[in-house]
């Protein structure tokens, strides 16, 4: 089996991964609201881009749907997702890169 192609992590994808980093599974709408809240509306996902992004992440093996979550009535309509190990690794690597960038920027006093 070939290694799934790693998608370029756009801000939207990154935020979705970040969103799922908490140890609980979330459904699409929940992710959408959380991303919007966390970024103060800077990253705004519509339903189309949301599910498109989830597809890409799933395809790359970074997240996985949870087949059955017996959570009352909306279980029929919603897929719940969680990070895979690979997803966790990727997220931490990416964050690491960002941290280095942030560190560099701070040394040069780009930000405080």
């Amino acid at each position: 089996m070939t290694k799934p192609k790693q998608p370029r992590l756009t801000p939207a994808l990154f935020h979705i991964l970040l969103c799922l980093a908490e140890e609980e599974e979330k459904h699409g709408y929940g992710i959408m609201l959380e991303v919007r809240e966390r970024t103060a509306g800077a990253v705004k996902l519509g339903p189309g881009s949301l599910y498109w992004s989830l597809d890409r992440l799933e395809e790359a093996g970074l997240i996985e749907p949870i087949p059955e979550v017996a959570s009352a009535d909306d279980a029929k309509r919603r897929n719940y997702y969680r990070l895979t190990t690979r997803g966790k690794v990727t997220l931490s690597e990416e964050t690491q890169k960002l941290a280095i960038i942030v560190e560099l920027a701070r040394e040069r006093a780009v930000i405080e």
Partner: protein, 897 residues
């Protein structure tokens, strides 16, 4: 976007524009998300508008991404398909090179089948599918007169009594009253004038047509111009056909403006038509020039002599049915207004192509059907070959299966092989078609309408490709599925024989082949028998030793009637004195293949019939020598002696049918009939009865007919006559002398169309001969192919049972007993095949009925002969492989195990 429900509906509609796969995964969740978002707006307008702007922008972004991805995914899938096809093809070609004998047999078999089918299609394409070479030909029609009591005084050159010409009176009424539905209506009649001013007078085939002809057809002249309604009043103009321009005028580029002498009058050539132009497409098809047709005022009013063929162009938007309805109404009115001439007369409307095609359609359909049967037999043969090869390739299949090749992958590989064999066969078949195009055109040219052309156009190539692929699928499908079902386990356990279903399919295919071959053979047998009947049929006149020659007096016809009679007598005497000549006679229309004029008559001794229901007879005009020259047999009374004059009452010699119908049980001699339907018509007296002789067509039933002496008939005797010369072994020199002596008498007479009675009968049976030859060839091919198929399957069975046979021979079984058991096996294939084939033959017989003459579609003799032929051939195909098997040394076989 007032209510959330509406919003959901709209969003759902929007989602339909996404790729199906994406929708299937997320539609429900997306709708749910949307409805959550929608609820969150709290129903306030501004947030709602903002939401919608966001949703729509998001949707377009997603749709763009999803479709792009979908596009690449599909392309990738296609790449996979082409890659596999490429590698399958490479493997197949390698395999075909390794097995040249298989390749040659399979490709040749298919090539023959495809060539047959493609040639048949070329004919269909050149005739049935080919539009007539006129502008928008689909709106051109032909209009015929129909008569409830058969044609009257008409040149019924066509076989169907329901396609009769009409009279000028009727034509003019039709033309006036149908003007709302027809753009142009034209009438035409053949005109064969003698052209003088050349070395020898020449009779030309032409057509006189009313001025609207070319306007109706919408075909411009290639050189000069055509005549139009603007030319009315100046009928001495002439439009030449390409062939006549080339043939008679040597392709003279200055021909337009030239004056020519036709029947003693001067005509000016005003134009030349393009090479492919022909008109009319049926009936007077040899017309090579066109001249305006005009009438004298009193001729225009006459309604009795029906000699005009009528054509028209339907106005745009008017249907054929509407035209029919209009013409029916006109015909009913004419029946009322002119009951004396139009009682029982109707109108038949057809597309212009129909009269020509209706003659050839049955033959073409039948031959095409037979060709497809042959192709099916070829396909079964190749399927059998592939099945046998499948058995030989079990090792390969088992290994591939063990290596994980899926069933569909193996089917694909095998179908690729079949299709490649089929396409190679198709290419070879197309090559064969191209090579055979010339001979086939010659063979079928007599049968086809003049407007047809056997072109190898893109449709023919498309057909050849299509039929090849179809054949590949047909013969590839069973072997492929069997191959894919090959059990790896069974193979490894050492069970190397073909599966039972493989053998069942093979034997089933052979049975089908035998059945198809039987049907084809029966068809060929029926046609052959019909042809033999027709050629051995006694036409009532001499079948050989008679030569006929058409005389046309042309301009010199202007002389007196009495002078003409003298000319005839002189010619007769001169010809009789030539060596080898036994008798000479004149007639206006030769029997078989010439015009037939008809007249109604009233029997003097019978009650007066209802107007329009008078009996009708064909009549011919002849001189005193004719009966002996053509070989009529007198049963009663005598023939004319030449002493009859126009002052006496008309004398008639009638045929047996007319005598029996009119005066059953009594002698016809000295009985009288009134000719025509007028009360003061001439009274004819019967002086003789002759045995029925063929009239219009050899195969049509003989109706009432009588002869009338030339010496009493100055009116119907026109300028064209046929002189009939009887004699044993007439030499070419005698015939040349005959021509010369006639020209010495009158240098303006044209002499054309010299033919022997044998050639007339040959032409008359050409359709039968050609269809018999074609179907016979196909049937022979079918017989050979199915014999090969039977041979192949029995060889295969023999090979499978080699061990058993070896053991039996070792135990002392005789060759005879081995053969017997082989034959028993063969008969289990042949007998059911024959039985199914016989049932099929009944259908084939029905299908052929229109071509058969005096042969029942289920003729027992033919069926028996076919069964016998098939039996003998299958016996041969069985004995050879079985003998070979029984001769093998048992030691060798047993050692192999």
């Amino acid at each position: 976007m007032t209510s959330p429900r509406k919003g959901i509906r709209f969003y759902r509609a929007l989602l339909q524009t996404l790729p199906a796969a994406f929708r299937a995964r997320h539609e429900q969740a997306m709708l749910q998300t949307f409805s959550n978002l929608s609820e969150a707006t709290g129903g306030k307008s501004l947030p709602k508008i903002r939401l919608w702007l966001h949703i729509i922008a998001d949707h377009f972004k997603t749709a763009g991404r999803a479709w792009t991805r979908e596009f690449f995914r599909r392309k990738e899938r296609r790449h996979g398909f082409w890659d596999a096809l490429f590698s399958d093809s490479r493997l197949t070609l390698w395999m075909l090179r390794r097995n040249p004998s298989f390749t040659i047999i399979a490709v040749t078999t298919i090539a023959l089948g495809i060539a047959g089918a493609t040639i048949a299609f070329t004919v269909v394409n050149g005739t049935l599918l080919r539009p007539l070479p006129y502008d928008t030909p689909e709106s051109l029609v032909a209009l015929f007169q129909t008569e409830s009591n058969g044609p009257r005084l008409s040149a019924a050159g066509l076989s169907s009594p329901q396609r009769n010409p009409t009279s000028p009176g009727n034509f003019l009424e039709w033309q006036r009253d149908a003007a709302e539905v027809l753009d142009v209506m034209t009438a035409a009649t053949p005109w064969n004038p003698v052209m003088t001013g050349l070395d020898r007078p020449d009779r030309l085939n032409g057509l006189r047509a009313t001025y609207g002809l070319f306007e109706m057809l919408g075909v411009p002249a290639a050189m000069g111009r055509t005549f139009t309604r603007a030319d009315e009043g100046s009928p001495h103009i002439l439009v030449l056909g390409h062939e006549m321009w080339q043939g008679v005028f040597g392709g003279d580029p200055q021909v337009v403006g030239l004056n020519v002498n036709l029947d003693g009058e001067t005509y000016e050539v005003i134009g030349v038509m393009p090479a492919e132009f022909r008109f009319p497409p049926f009936w007077a098809v040899e017309a090579g020039m066109w001249v305006p047709l005009e009438w004298e005022p009193d001729a225009a009013a006459q309604r009795r002599a029906a000699f005009l063929r009528v054509f028209g162009r339907i106005k745009p938007g008017v249907s054929l049915e509407a035209l029919e309805a209009r013409m029916d109404a006109i015909a009913s009115r004419l029946e009322e207004d002119y009951s004396w001439s139009n009682a029982g007369i109707g109108v038949r409307v057809e597309h212009l192509s129909e009269p020509g095609l209706s003659v050839v359609r049955p033959t073409i359909t039948i031959v095409s059907g037979f060709v497809l049967i042959l192709l099916l037999i070829a396909c079964s043969n190749v399927a059998n070959l592939l099945l046998s090869r499948g058995a030989a390739r079990q090792t390969e299949l088992a290994i591939r299966g063990a290596l994980g090749a899926s069933q569909s992958r193996i089917i694909r590989q095998w179908m690729t092989e079949s299709l490649i064999v089929a396409v190679l066969g198709g290419a070879a078949g197309l090559g064969l078609t191209i090579a055979l195009k010339g001979p086939v055109s010659v063979l079928v040219s007599d049968l086809l309408p003049v407007t047809s052309a056997l072109d190898l156009d893109y449709r023919v190539f498309g057909f050849a490709l299509g039929i090849s692929v179809l054949a590949g699928v047909i013969f590839g499908i069973a072997p492929s599925f069997l191959a894919s079902r090959q059990q790896v386990g069974a193979f490894l356990r050492g069970n190397h024989t073909t599966t039972g279903s493989g053998n069942r399919i093979k034997t089933g295919l052979v049975m089908v082949e035998i059945a198809l071959a039987v049907s084809l053979l029966t068809g060929a047998g029926l046609l052959t028998k019909s042809f033999i009947q027709l050629t051995n049929h006694d036409p009532g006149f001499s079948r050989k030793g008679v030569v006929a020659l058409d005389l046309s007096f042309g301009a010199s016809a202007n002389g007196q009637w009495e002078e003409r009679l003298v000319t005839y007598r002189t010619i007769s005497r001169k010809l009789e004195s030539l060596p080898g000549v036994a008798a000479v006679g004149f007639v206006n229309h030769m029997p078989v293949g010439s015009d037939m004029w008809g007249v109604r008559y009233v029997v003097q001794s019978a009650p007066v019939p209802v107007p329009g229901s008078e009996p009708r007879a064909t009549f011919r005009v002849a001189d005193h020598g004719y009966a002996q020259a053509i070989g009529l047999t007198l049963l009663e009374g005598r023939w004319f002696d030449g002493s009859e004059t126009s002052e006496d009452d008309p004398t008639l010699v009638i045929n047996q049918t007319m005598a029996n119908e009119t005066w059953p049980g009594e002698s016809a001699i000295d009985q009288t009939i009134r000719l025509g339907t007028d009360d003061d018509g001439p009274i004819g007296r019967v002086i003789g009865v002759y045995r029925d002789a063929g009239q219009g067509q050899l195969r049509s039933e003989v109706g009432a007919e009588f002869y009338h002496p030339v010496t009493q008939d100055p009116t119907t005797w026109n300028t064209d006559v046929t002189v009939v010369i009887a004699g044993v072994d007439l030499e070419a020199a005698t015939l040349t002398a005959a021509r010369e002596s006639i020209w010495r008498l009158d240098s303006e007479v044209s002499l054309t169309n010299m033919r022997t009675i044998e050639s007339v009968l040959h032409t008359e049976t050409s359709r039968e001969r050609t269809s018999m030859a074609i179907v016979g060839g196909l049937a022979f091919g079918a017989l050979v192919l199915s014999a090969i198929g039977l041979y192949g399957v029995l060889s295969f069975i023999a090979a499978q049972r080699k061990r058993e046979i070896g053991v039996r021979v070792a135990l002392g079984a005789s060759t005879g007993s081995i053969l017997r058991s082989g034959l028993k096996r063969a008969m289990t294939l042949v007998i059911p095949g024959l039985a199914i084939g016989m049932v099929g033959s009944l259908a084939v017989g029905r299908f052929l009925e229109s071509l058969l003459w005096q042969v029942a579609p289920a003729d027992p003799a033919t069926f028996g002969a076919v069964a016998l032929v098939l039996g003998i051939v299958s016996l041969g195909a069985t004995i050879i492989p079985m003998r070979r098997a029984s001769k093998t040394d048992p030691a060798i076989i047993l050692r192999e195990e």
